[in-house]
Amino acid sequence: MVLLKIKFTQQRRVHLAQGLWLLSWMAVLWGGVIFFLGVYLKTELLRRAEVMDNTEIHVVPNILMMVGLASICTNWVASRVCQDSMDSTRFPRWKVPLLAWFAVSAVLCCLLIAVVVLSYALQGSLEQSLKVGLRNGIRFYKDTDVPGRCFQKETIDRLQMEFLCCGNDNFKDWFEVQWVSNRYLDFTSKDVKDRIRSNVDGRYLLDGVPFSCCNPTSPRPCLRYHLTDNNAHFSYDYQSEELNLYSRGCRQALTDYYMELMNATGPGVVSVIFIQLSVLLSLRYLQTAVETAMVLEDPEGDSEGYLLEKGVKETIEDLKTNALTILKFGQVDPDAAEGSSEAADIEKDEKDAPPTPAS
């Protein structure tokens, strides 16, 4: 018994073809939108590539771009099929390509669903990558004279000012790193010598932060040095001061930003999945309706359209046997004897076929 049978008059077939043509062009447009979303996301990720350690997260925009392009091509093919469907001389040449089309379309839908899943699943990986990248950036902040690292200071400063954040988790990360280059330290002064001796690695650590951590909305001119010393500044309490510096860490800020971007692309991707599925189903109905109409005595008469000729299970069995027979043609015959468990049909074929010499 067929799956989801619908009766089609000639009028309905024409309407279906026209509607599907419009729908496939809309799908081409949406495919373009998805491609540009992918390009935008990739550009944003590449802009901050200096503070990211690995590029695992790039798989999301890469798939989006690929799917966008593939969707444009497949839906353009669908529109051409629609145009030819009303012409009985041109339609038969689409018979085999349509099977490939259905497979490609199904793969596209699966990839789109995978993108949605990945964009949530890779959040942890993104955070880890940012953690390592930012940690390196903060460590190499002072190396403005080392080739290859000389731009870290500017990168981190601009990042902190743009994303309104300070440090990796919070501003205290700057207390644990020497962010003042040795070139600007007077090693004869007592203060410098004390600070260097106060830790094992001989680093000049201070309870201060760079200027890019300063929050412009603070009512008070920015306090950057001696942050833990309440007596160093008038009317200042380290524990209760909130607006002086940015309280958010840059890792959190960047993760939120990218998650927001990917969430914003979510509705677009979901709607493309729906459109692609509807194009797939409508094209299947159109194909079956037109094919059954062509074998009738009266091509203008009523015909039936369906999704699958037999039930789901039987169709899967048929597909498996077809695939195995195709494989068999490419193999030497003795190997076919060790067929799969549903080899009942195959063995029947073997018995009917003439015996071949064993190798």
Partner: protein
């Protein structure tokens, strides 16, 4: 001798009408463009009106918005007239007002050119507005607890970060005002008392700048306090130090930003003016070609089109004569009435 005489047959007339109709639709979009540019400019001025002491002149963006709307209206009407010119029965109702409409168009084009000129000239008053506005803005930097001025610090900081500038002319402007609020000064400390005593107004002046003046490209962590004291920092010479804070003053930064915007708008308005002149000439050709049909009953007959019926000189003298006769006409009437009065 008409100016730029062109012979027309039906086919040419139809082509002319279609082309001018098409150009009118472009001109409508150009009008929309002028309108949106005026709107954009107005919004940009409003965004930074705090830094211009709310004194900035909105004359130019308002004019652009008005001209854009008028352009849309005129061009839509012109397009309709062009469309109807292909059908003699419809064109008849537009015929009488066409001359007046063309005069209006010429006046409008002149105004549009004037607007473009203004775009290039208004830079000068803007310079003065910015200088005054920034000076007073910097004075209110410390007043974060005064209602109405509490956002000046944030506005100035964000502006200096965004435009990469410091102070009005340069960073030394910050040395001349007190930008630290009295709430954060310990008046019992000797240093504070010294600084306050060192000037007539009793202001806490220091050779330091806010953090927003810092240049991220500097290889050295930012030096914002005691900037003129070379011995306060290791290996520091404030005369040769170039990358530490932004060298440019905010007045120049903002002026070049707005100046660039106004130049672009000016150039675009000039281009729109040229388009308007072209469609006006096109409409004049349509009008003249449809009024000089060799055989008025036969729409397919030949005709001539021109920009001016006589040469420029003759047209000019004609206009002068007309104006003189209008003036004389009233005089003669008065004289005639007086004669009648005396007779009776």
């Amino acid at each position: 001798m008409a100016l730029m005489l062109v012979k027309f047959d039906l086919k040419k007339r139809v082509k002319l009408a279609q082309t001018v109709w098409f150009m009118y639709w472009f001109a409508v979009m150009a009008g929309v463009l002028v309108f949106s540019m005026g709107l954009f400019f107005k919004i940009e001025l409003r965004k930074r009106s705090e830094l211009m002491d709310n004194n900035e002149s909105h004359f130019l963006p308002n004019l652009l918005i008005f001209m854009g709307l008028v352009a849309c209206g005129i061009n839509a009407f012109g397009g309709k007239v062009c469309y109807d010119s292909l059908d003699p029965s419809k064109f008849v109702k537009w015929k009488p007002m066409l001359k007046g409409f063309l005069f209006c168009c010429m006046g409008f084009n002149a105004l549009l050119l004037l607007t473009a000129l203004l775009c290039f000239i208004m830079r000068i008053p803007l310079q003065f507005t910015l200088a005054e506005g920034l000076k007073s803005g910097m004075r209110y930097y410390k007043d974060t607890d005064t209602p109405g001025r509490c956002y000046m610090k944030r506005t100035l900081d964000l502006m200096q970060i965004e435009f990469r500038c410091c102070g009005n002319e340069n960073y030394r402007d910050w040395f001349e005002i007190q930008w630290v609020s009295n709430r954060y000064l310990d008046f019992s400390a000797k240093e504070v008392k010294d600084r306050i005593g060192s000037n007539v107004d009793g202001q806490y002046l220091m050779d330091g700048v806010p953090f927003s003046c810092c240049n991220p490209s500097s290889p050295r962590p930012c030096i914002q306090h005691q900037m003129t004291n070379n011995s306060a920092y290791y290996s520091y010479d404030h005369y040769t130090e170039e990358l530490n804070v932004w060298k440019r003053g905010c007045r120049y930064a903002m002026l070049s930003y707005y100046g660039g915007m106004m130049n672009t708008i000016g150039v675009l308005v000039v281009l729109v003016t040229m388009l308007e002149v072209a469609v006006t000439i096109g409409l004049q050709y349509i009008d003249s070609s449809l009024s000089t049909l060799v055989n008025p009953e036969d729409p397919e007959s030949e005709s001539e089109g021109w920009i001016l019926e006589k040469t420029v000189k003759e047209t000019f003298t004609d206009i002068m004569d007309k104006m003189k006769s209008m003036g004389k006409g009233t005089k003669v009437e008065e004289g005639g009435q007086a004669a009648v009065a005396t007779v009776s």
